[in-house]
């Protein structure tokens, strides 16, 4: 089982490399598309497809990372302290938490404060209240009289 876990981990690394290669190529194609003189609907639609492709590739990368993390926790019988540290190191290097305040957007990189994981879990998250003013539904409009 341990050998298979290592195999899966190396295959996932290969998948991440392939995904990065693909992303780079798509970026190149997008660059080339933007340098073309003709600005028509075909190019806009093509660029849209390519941007959506980049999003999907990003999702594939995230899934590969998630699978690698599963490896550490559950597939090895007794994860060592090093495995746990490695797991959080991975998460902290990948995720950035955005604390939204009404005035500005403050970005905190977790990799800097990774040692203080406990305070991260119990911290107060500022909430942003959004009040939407919706138009009245048509059936309440004075113009609609009905039969």
């Amino acid at each position: 089982m341990e050998k298979q876990t290592k195999n899966l981990s190396s295959v996932l690394t290969g998948l991440q490399v392939a995904t990065n290669h693909c992303s780079m190529s798509v970026h190149q194609l997008l660059n080339n598309l933007s340098q073309r003189n003709s600005d028509n609907g075909f190019n806009k639609k093509g660029a849209q497809y390519l941007i959506e492709t980049l999003d999907s590739l990003q999702e594939i990368r995230k899934l590969a990372l998630r699978k690698k993390n599963y490896n550490f926790i559950s597939l090895n019988d007794e994860p060592s302290q090093i495995d746990w540290d490695k797991l959080f190191e991975n998460i902290h290097s990948q995720i950035e938490i955005k604390d939204i305040t009404p005035k500005n957007i403050k970005t905190i990189s977790l990799s800097k404060g990774a040692s203080n994981y406990g305070s991260f879990l119990t911290r107060d998250i500022p909430t942003l209240e959004i009040r939407l003013v919706l138009p009245p539904p048509p059936w309440l409009s004075s113009k609609v009289t009905g039969n």
Partner: protein
């Protein structure tokens, strides 16, 4: 596998272990195949652009649109497949836990 009644199926420990290993092997093979497809796609994009980025790029607008659309469809399909493989890994973890429970129960009975 021993069928006790229509609702309860008792799976032997050896069978469970075998199932986990086969499922794991299948996940590895599929992940490898998907990585290969992604690598091939990356190369095909490079080929489409041409070795010289500026001189070699001469496809028509319609060709670019078609190429981008087919690329998006393929990558989306790989993404769906990756989701399914994630579920498979979760199933492996579940089975592994069942195996552990079986072992613990056996230890207690001994």
């Amino acid at each position: 596998m021993i069928i006790q009644d229509s609702n309860h199926i008792k799976i032997e420990k050896k069978e469970l272990k075998d199932t986990i290993e086969r499922l794991f092997e299948a996940v590895i093979i599929e992940e490898k195949a998907l990585a290969e497809i992604l690598e091939t796609k990356a190369r095909s994009i490079e080929k489409f652009i041409g070795e010289d980025m500026y001189k070699g790029f001469s496809p028509t607008d319609f060709e670019i649109l078609n190429f981008s659309q087919s690329l998006k469809i393929t990558i989306d399909q790989i993404l769906f497949k990756e989701w399914l493989l994630l579920r498979n890994i979760e199933t492996i973890i579940l089975l592994k836990n069942q195996l552990k429970e079986k072992d613990q129960a056996k230890e207690q009975s001994d």
